[in-house]
């Protein structure tokens, strides 16, 4: 996982310095997931979050100029950003932590 974390960090660095948002977004998600994987007991939670966040960020990068109005009168990408990156992650990791708490505390002990 540490090598994966390093790869993710280098992706963020290269993407950020050279101006490649897609590389940077993939690096950000990889680094966050690889770091959390050092202690998260559930590969399912890690994989689900990785796929979800990567998908949302790529969508936002490629559809950011879409002005189609959706719920609440917001442009579709703005709504996807708020729902997908701000609200939905509560269902992945914070609730996932409660659901896998026994496994985590057991492994820790």
């Amino acid at each position: 996982m540490l090598w994966l974390l390093l790869v993710g960090l280098i992706g963020v660095l290269i993407g950020g310095v050279a101006g490649f948002p897609t590389v940077m977004a993939t690096g950000v998600v990889t680094a966050i997931v690889a770091l959390t994987a050092l202690r998260c007991p559930s590969r399912l939670l890690l994989a689900a979050f990785w796929i979800w966040l990567e998908g949302i960020l790529l969508y936002l990068l490629f559809a950011s100029h879409d002005r189609t109005l959706s719920a609440l009168g917001l442009p579709r990408p703005a709504l996807v950003m708020l729902a997908g990156v701000w609200l939905a992650p509560i269902l992945f990791w914070p609730l996932g932590f409660a659901l896998t708490f026994k496994k985590w505390s057991g492994r820790e002990q």
């Binding site: 540490l2 090598w3 974390l5 390093l6 960090l9 280098i10 963020v12 660095l13 993407g15 950020g16 310095v17 101006g19 948002p21 940077m24 977004a25 950000v28 680094a31 966050i32 770091l35 959390t36 050092l38 202690r39 998260c40 979050f49 960020l57 936002l60 990068l61 950011s64 100029h65 002005r67 109005l69 609440l72 009168g73 917001l74 442009p75 990408p77 703005a78 996807v80 950003m81 708020l82 990156v85 701000w86 609200l87 992650p89 509560i90 992945f92 990791w93 914070p94 609730l95 996932g96 932590f97 409660a98 708490f101 985590w104 505390s105 820790e108």
Partner: protein
């Protein structure tokens, strides 16, 4: 009514300070609130420490000036609590209980056996505390100046006096108990302000229509700053939160780790509610200005005060100002205590003095920290939000790799820690200086670059030259 409410609120906080002074008899009380926090106290104290004037004053201001892209700063709040529990709760709690660690530099010296790293971390913490505390004092000055109809400098002085009084009296016990009150006020006030701001500006559809008509790029997910800066903020605040000493320190104060089972999702819900003020007031103020219903702001940080002044009834303004003052003070009090710890015990220990400072000595150093922050606040002339990023960036770059990876990876060595601290802190400070002089050439935020280089130095040295040392839990 508004000045009366705020003054009564400040008096209440001072009374809590006097009450808690009696409960701060030992260093464990002054720095770790006696290690007796329950679930809801921990949630509210953590939320109140994270959600500062940066979120309440700088946030709406940033939305006003750069649009939805600014929200990447706070958007990761929904999942960072879970990362904090998974990666930090167990080792930090164990080190406080078993190794007698009271501060983050204590944890570093216990884990890496390196006084240089501990001392350097204490210096980084002190720099970050002074920078961030100055930000809080500036925000407090802006708010109190608007409420009490006085100058911003008098506002800063008045706020600093009350903060210094209760923090010096009660240390972390006062900080935590006031945080609980302040956290409750913040949750109520943000919910009400958000609803009122939306309704005053014609609902989300009305706001959206006005912004899309006049400045559509503000509602792009990347706002006016572009994806590189936004992704940089996202990474910095998602991962860098794990190096914020005033936040992760709370993990050392929990009574029992089993209480943390529901901590991440309750924290996420509370933080989500609080960050509504960023979206609601920022977007409403922008749409009202674009429609000509509100005068053009002289400064983006005036978004919330101008909105309240122009549209809110008196009772709502009183509630809102109480919420804002709560947010600012609840972060500042934790900073003052960890800054005092850095001066009173962490730095002397780095030079070999092992004696535990008395509570009185810790109180004196709390006052010194406030004086340093006050001097810094009086010399800063930028946006409140950007000054906040400087403090956050120093903490993130200096401490995140050492804590998040180092406490979970036996291969991390003292050399990894030294390299990470020097590279991270140096890059954060140099990058911010260059940025303020207009010489920083990248879109990637300087603090994000510092965090990345700090991580890479830490991992690179640990992976290439592994010298296993067991984490001391």
């Amino acid at each position: 009514m508004i000045p009366g409410t705020i003054l009564a609120y400040l008096v209440l906080l001072s009374v809590i300070g006097v009450w808690t002074a009696r409960r701060s008899r030992a260093s464990t009380d002054f720095y770790l609130a006696g290690r007796q926090l329950g679930l809801f106290t921990t949630v509210l104290a953590t939320m109140a420490s994270i959600m500062s004037g940066f979120v309440f004053v700088g946030g709406p201001g940033l939305f006003y000036s750069v649009g939805l892209g600014s929200f990447w700063i706070v958007i990761s709040a929904s999942f960072t609590g879970a990362m904090m529990c998974w990666l930090l709760a167990r080792p930090l709690h164990a080190m406080a209980a078993q190794a007698g660690c009271l501060t983050i530099p204590d944890v570093i010296v216990a884990r890496y056996g390196c006084r240089f790293s501990s001392g350097f971390a204490a210096v980084g913490i002190l720099l970050g505390v002074v920078g961030y505390l100055a930000t809080q004092l500036l925000a407090l000055g802006l708010i109190l100046a608007a409420v009490l109809n006085t100058s911003i400098w008098l506002g800063i002085l008045a706020g600093a006096l009350v903060l210094a009084f209760y923090t010096t009296a009660g240390g972390m016990v006062a900080a935590v108990y006031t945080d609980v009150v302040q956290g409750g006020v913040m949750l109520v006030s943000t919910s009400v302000i958000f609803g009122y701001a939306l309704s005053a500006a014609g609902g989300s559809s009305g706001i959206s229509a006005a912004i899309l008509r006049e400045a559509p790029d503000l509602l792009s997910p990347w706002g006016l700053v572009g994806p590189i800066a936004c992704l940089g903020w996202f990474f910095l605040f998602a991962v860098g939160s794990l190096g914020q000493p005033h936040v992760v320190h709370k993990m050392m104060m929990v009574r029992d780790l089993r209480l943390l089972k529901h901590f991440p999702w309750i924290l996420a819900v509370c933080m989500t509610i609080c960050s509504l003020v960023w979206l609601g007031v920022g977007s409403s103020a922008k749409s009202l200005v674009l429609r000509g219903a509100m005068p053009l702001l002289a400064h983006p940080d005036e978004a919330i005060t101008s909105f309240l002044h122009a549209f809110a009834p008196t009772w709502l303004s009183a509630l809102a100002y109480a919420g804002i003052v709560s947010a600012i003070m609840s972060t500042a009090d934790s900073f003052a205590t960890i800054g005092a710890a850095a001066l009173a015990r962490d730095l002397p220990r780095a030079f070999g003095r092992q004696s535990e400072p008395t509570v009185t000595k810790s109180r004196v150093f709390s006052v010194v920290v406030f004086a340093l922050a006050l001097m810094f606040a009086l010399s800063v002339k930028g946006l409140v939000a950007y000054a906040g990023i400087l403090g956050f960036g120093i903490f993130a770059a200096a401490l995140t790799p050492l804590l998040s990876v180092g406490l979970n990876w036996p291969g991390a060595t003292a050399w990894s820690a030294r390299a990470s601290l020097v590279v991270g802190t140096g890059t954060a400070v140099a990058g911010e200086i260059l940025a303020r002089r207009g010489l920083y050439p990248l879109q990637l935020p300087p603090a994000c670059l510092a965090l990345l280089l700090s991580f890479i130095a830490f991992l690179g040295i640990g992976l290439v030259a592994p010298k296993p040392t067991e984490p001391q839990e």
